[in-house]
Structure formats: structure tokens, C-alpha cells
Point group: C2
Chain length 423, copies 2
């Protein structure tokens, strides 16, 4: 088999997570272990950054082993991110030509892209184009999203840590709401446009001494305001303090976002609706219908990179999937996304493999209907069983003065533009 | 000196904190150590609960040493809370008579009340009434508030943990906002009606690799929208991602809450304005004036009892002040609030003492003007130096399945009402 030795380039894309840099750290460590990879380059702000030649050599950044270890426990994309979407190859090859010129210039033979759904679209398109022009490069996608909405993998790195933070926060908010001897309704709004995994993770807060949240509404099923009001009345029959977890993306039977009643829905550059105000909308509805103290809490960006409450399981898995991505590429595979396979007997265990990225890109994994209860206001035990192993363990963070230390990128060390220099 | 042996009663009041139960734990442990105290009773929902005879014997609740240890790391008021305010003694002694009948019935000779400003008002009034009717009881207030707004003490238990959570969260949100290569303004709304201590704690997020938040607005100074817009423009000259920390309680020059422009201000039962929407109001202002991605994040109740990011220093101090409260009462003092004195040479050290509660009740400690910069948009180094020791150290939480275990009150074990039984 033709084994191209050369340099590798790593980029990150999509929303931040607590463990995206653990995957980056895994790629770097394994790249250091193979003779097939010479220089290890990083691209700042993903594909968009490559086009702007924001490329550096990791040896100018991570000078000690300590730096590399610190990278593992640094949340949010160390390399920065982008939301750049490549055009269809048939439509416009301009950006592709430019990117592959840069790959050629820096002798890039391995490209690792850590990201979510849109990033896998990039991996798919670039590997297709490479094949088309017979460019010897291995392009591997490493999954990353708190949303857990990628198909083909048991779960995504990043989800476990967000789920753990959400569960811990719901547990604490529940305790907070219980201290006063009065009727209250607390609505906790969780991220998730179309898939309810994050909102479902609120159910992990339940334990022998806590049975909240009392109601969970996921975007997989249509949301009925009338049913919502009836549900709260039912809970109030045996409980003063009602805790509701709700996805930002719940929609009514016509498919309209609930929060549209309050805010005009705007869309981001990918055509996704940018949401907000779902909790606040429900707060107004409850206030109008109940005599109770009503509060809505939006977990907002806090849930995306709360490294201080990350899952060690998630962190280690993210690191390992990064390492395996290098092995997969060196073996000669390209156009693949790394995945987790789960075995549950006798206990939770993950093996890492890869699948054709064309099976992944632009598909969305939602919660199966049978993992949601019949009434559509709670999750089933199978879903809790699925999520529980993912939030286990606490990572050891490097702390100073009571706060975690994180690593920051020095953006003053970009590689020279050889082409421009040659001119 | 007349040393009344008898039973003790403990209550909690005001808003939840991460460490209010550490103080409760300290009182119980020291009460177990003294012969002067026989039974240790708890009142559920503070003064209001005593009037409803929601009183139990701790030996029915905390059955093992493990339970007692778990109480120390359980956030939010274990005993529940209330917002009941006693009338002036001159105006109406009805509630006082009822309370002291109950104290007499259960042979209460020690009453410990853990709470904030309003709770110290209760301690003051009850001790004054006890003196008036020559009732042999020692009443001690144990401070507790995340707001750090009690006078007479260097700081309040609860503040350090909230400050640590806020600083860690600001650090993480800052990292989150930096990943995209675009102009952004992120506004983080922090609790604090009149005192800006919590908002100021966002400055603790600054370190060698992070200089955000870039702007800090405290309720101690009038807020000018025009100045705010100018301040953001100034920061934007050298920074793409602007991070603003703002107190919920900022007011304009006329003393009107900024958020009044959006929401009608309502008041709670103490006459305090219930705020919200300050961050959102500023978000709208920034959106109208800047071409940038604008987001507001409200830390809401999350900052009140985030035990998962508590300060060990705060937790230990809260525990110790509870223990010392018992010693103070047994020594024969009454109508006192426990306080911290700080010595800073050669290093941060706290000694515990008590002061006459009349010096404390209904007064409010704000940030001194000289600890805020001249422009009113940042804090001075002295303030950071004051706060830094309070957030040190991580408590060991008991974890199970990736989440902390907390202790919950069993409310089925209330003491019998002897008077009612006798009838």
C-alpha cells in the first residue's frame, strides 16, 4: 500500500466543548509517535483559517510536556473555530483549489478535522475532491459536539461533559428551589435545536433523594401548551416545587418554535434558527396560569465548556479517539469519521473504529421514540441507562489560586506564506 | 455567671448558599461537645416554621457521622428558609409571645439563626424581647449571604464560593466567546441588588493568560448608557471579543434600575425590587449600536449554590464560624452576630469573634469608592487582593455516578406539640 509520509494539519470547527482539545491533544501525541508524520501543524479558525494561511507549527506553541497535558484539560476550541461551509464541488472548486495548493505547499499528507455535523460535511467534500484530483492525503473527521446528534457513533465526545454539568446544575437548582415553603415552578432551558439529548441529561439528576426534574420536554415531539399546563397541574397535586427541563428547540404541532411567540426567529449563516427565549416564553405562560413563584433559567453557553464539571470518561474518550484517528490515517484510510462502539456486557466499554463520513455528514441522530415516555413529558429508563456511563469520573484539573489553569494560543507564530515570499 | 443548661434550636433564613449547611454542621458538632446543651433541635423554614411547630430533633435525622459530614457539603438551606419579618416589638408582640411559648415548651436556651441581613433583624428583635421579658436564652446570629453585604465582618460565609463559581464561569465563557473570529460582545449578569461584590468577583477570572472581563459595572455607581457604549468602543479598538460583567442592580443617575426600561420592576415581600433582565436590556442596547454578535448570560440561581465549584476556604470558615457561635453562646453572650476578622501579615488568616447584632441589622456594606476605578467601569487591585484568598481550595465532595451526593431532610419526624397534646 502507498504510505505517504509528510506533514499533518489539524483544525477545529463548530461550537466549543469541554473536551475538543483533549482530542487535539490525542492527535498530537500519536502524531509524535509515528514516523509517517513529520511536522505537526495547526490551523486557526478551521477551514476559514487555512484559506487565510493562519497555520502554525505546534512545536512553536507546545514547548513542554506540561503544555501538552494542559491542552487536554483546556475547554473550548484551542485552535479557534469557524462556521465556514464549503460549496458543492460541482458548483465551485475555487476554495478547493486554494486549499489543496496550501496542502501541497506545506506538504500536508494528513488532515484531521475535529468538529460536528457541518465539519463532517467538510471532511466528506475535501476527501472526495482529493480523490478526484488524486491528491495523496488522508482526511479524517473526529467527532465533537455537546449535542450528541451525530449518527454512526454510540455517542459524541463532548456530550458526556455537558450532560454532567447539566445534571449537576439541575440538582443544585432543585435544591435551591426547595428551600422556600411556597409553590414554585422553575423552568430550565437547555441547548439542543432538534435533538433532545442534552435536555434528557437533566434526568441524570434523579437519585435516591431527588426525583426532579418533574417534567422533561424534548424537541423530538411536538409541544402542546395546553398539555404543558395540565402536566404542571398534575405534578402540583403532590409537589410544591415543580422543576421543568425544556429544550430550546421545542416546536408546536405546526413545527413552529415555541419561542417564536415572543421573539422573531432569526437564522445563522448555516440556515439554522438561532433560538433563545424558550424558557422565558414558558415562564410567561406559567405566570399567566398559576399562582406560584415562577423562574426560568437558561443554561446558555455555560453548558458548552464547563470544564470545572467535566466527565473524566468523556475527557479520556475524546483523547483516545484523537489518538486512534492518527492510527486510522496512517493505516491508509481517508474520508472517515472516527466513532465509538459500545459493549455493555459485563460493563460499559468503548471501542474505537471509523466509518465512511458520507454516512454521517448532514444526518442528525435524534432520541428514539421508545426512549421517550408515552405522554411525551419524560424520558424512559433505557435513555438514563444509556447516558449514565458517560458522566462518570472527575478529571484532575491544574488549579492555581482556586481556579483552573487553561492553555492559550499564541497567534504570533504563523508559518510564512512560501508562495507570497517567492513572488 | 448564670449558665442555663437546656436545649438548642437552629434555624436558617434568607437565600441559599453553598456553605450555609457547613455552618449548621459546625453548630451541631460543637453543640454535641458541650454539656450545656442537651437536645439539638432544628426548625424547618426558619421563624415561620417555628410558629408552625415544624421542629425536629437532629438525632432523628443525622443518624451517622457520615450523615453529619455529608451535611457540610450539601448546598442550599437543609432546614429550608423563610422570608418572614418580625414586626417591631412596640407594634405587635403576638408573634413574639407565641415564639417564646414554644421556646419555653421545648426548654430552648440557645437559639442559632443562620442568615443574612433580614435574619440579623430577627436575631436583634428576639434578643431584645428576651431581655425585656427576662427569658434566659442566648440568641446568636451566624452570617450567611453570597452578597457579602453584611457590615461588621471582613466577609460573609457563602460569598467565597459564589465568587469562585462566578470567576470560573466567566473564565469559561470568555474562552467560549474567543473561538470565533468575529466581533462579539458578551454580557454576564451577576446577582447583587445594591452591593457589587459578586459582580466584582468576575475580575478574579483575570490571570496571566486572560484579561477579561474587560468592563465591570457595579451598582455602587450610577450607570450611564452613553458611557457604556463609549467604553465598548474603546475596548473594541484592541480586542474583538468584549466581555462585560454587570450587576443586576445597576441604576441610572436618577436611581432607576436600568432594566426598568424593559420590564416593570416588581417588589418582593420585603420591599426589595425583584430584578432580572438587566443583561438582556444591555444586550438590546449593544445590538442597536454595534455590528457584533451580542449575547447576554444571566448566572441566575446557579451562582447561589454551585457546590460543585465551592471554595474550600469558604466551606471551612463557614463550618468554624458555626462552631464558634456555640462557644460564644455557652460563654453567656446573646444578641450577637458572629464575625470574621482578617489579618494579612504574613499571610491571610481569619479569627472569629462576635459583635452586637444591633450594629449589623439593616445596614448594608457596599464596595468602597476607592476600590472601584475612577471611570466606574472596573475594580481596583485592592479589591482583587481582598477577594482572592476567599476562593482558594477545592472541597472534597462525596460523589456517586459522577454527581455529588447531598443530604435531604426527612420532614416526617416533627416533635409532638406538647401543648396541643395536653388539651
Amino acid at each position: 500500500m502507498y504510505q505517504p509520509a509528510g506533514n499533518c494539519l489539524i483544525g477545529q470547527s463548530g461550537g466549543p466543548t469541554s473536551v475538543i482539545n483533549a482530542s487535539l491533544c490525542g492527535v498530537i501525541k500519536q502524531a509524535l509517535n509515528t514516523n509517517m508524520i513529520h511536522r505537526i501543524y495547526g490551523a486557526v479558525n478551521g477551514i476559514e483559517g487555512i484559506l487565510e494561511r493562519k497555520i502554525f507549527d505546534f512545536c512553536t506553541q507546545l514547548k513542554t510536556r506540561k503544555d501538552l497535558d494542559l491542552l487536554k484539560t483546556t475547554p473550548a476550541a484551542y485552535l479557534g473555530s469557524c462556521r465556514y461551509k464549503l460549496p458543492a464541488i460541482d458548483a465551485d472548486t475555487h476554495a478547493y483549489k486554494e486549499l489543496f495548493d496550501i496542502f501541497r505547499e506545506y506538504n500536508i499528507r494528513y488532515f484531521f478535522y475535529i468538529g460536528g455535523n457541518d465539519s463532517m460535511d467538510t471532511v466528506m467534500k475535501l476527501s472526495t475532491y482529493a480523490e478526484k484530483i488524486s491528491f495523496p492525503i488522508r482526511i479524517i473527521g473526529i467527532p465533537k459536539t455537546i449535542d450528541n446528534d451525530l449518527v454512526g457513533t454510540d455517542h459524541t465526545p463532548g456530550f458526556g461533559s455537558a450532560a454532567k454539568y447539566i445534571a449537576a446544575t439541575v440538582l443544585e437548582v432543585t435544591r435551591d428551589s426547595y428551600v422556600y415553603d411556597l409553590n414554585s415552578v422553575t423552568i430550565i432551558e437547555v441547548m439542543g435545536r432538534n435533538a433532545g439529548w442534552l435536555t434528557a441529561s437533566s434526568a441524570l439528576a434523579r437519585c435516591e433523594y431527588n426525583n426532579s426534574p418533574d417534567l422533561i420536554y424534548l424537541p423530538e415531539l411536538p409541544f402542546s401548551v395546553e398539555q404543558f399546563i395540565r402536566d404542571i397541574r398534575t405534578v402540583q397535586k403532590h409537589k410544591k416545587n415543580v422543576i421543568v427541563a425544556v429544550s430550546e428547540g421545542i416546536k408546536n404541532e405546526c413545527g413552529k418554535y415555541i419561542c417564536e411567540a415572543v421573539n422573531d426567529t432569526k437564522t445563522d449563516m448555516f440556515g439554522h434558527a438561532t433560538l433563545g427565549g424558550t424558557g422565558k416564553s414558558l415562564e410567561h405562560i406559567v405566570k399567566a396560569n398559576f399562582q406560584a413563584k415562577v423562574r426560568s433559567v437558561e443554561l446558555s453557553v455555560l453548558q458548552r465548556c464547563a470544564m470545572h464539571m467535566a466527565s473524566k470518561t468523556d475527557l479520556d474518550e475524546a483523547y483516545n479517539i484523537g489518538k486512534e484517528a492518527v492510527n486510522t490515517a496512517v493505516k491508509g484510510l481517508t474520508g472517515r469519521m472516527m466513532i465509538f462502539n459500545r459493549s455493555t456486557a459485563p460493563e460499559y466499554k468503548i471501542s474505537i473504529d471509523s466509518v465512511d463520513v458520507r454516512q454521517i455528514a448532514n444526518a442528525e441522530k435524534k432520541i428514539p421514540r421508545e426512549w421517550i415516555n408515552e405522554q411525551g413529558n419524560d424520558v424512559m429508563p433505557q435513555l438514563i441507562k444509556y447516558m449514565k456511563p458517560l458522566i462518570q469520573g472527575q478529571p484532575d484539573l491544574v488549579m492555581r489560586d482556586g481556579l483552573p489553569i487553561f492553555l492559550t494560543l499564541d497567534t504570533t507564530t504563523f508559518l510564512p506564506n512560501k508562495t507570497a515570499n517567492a513572488v
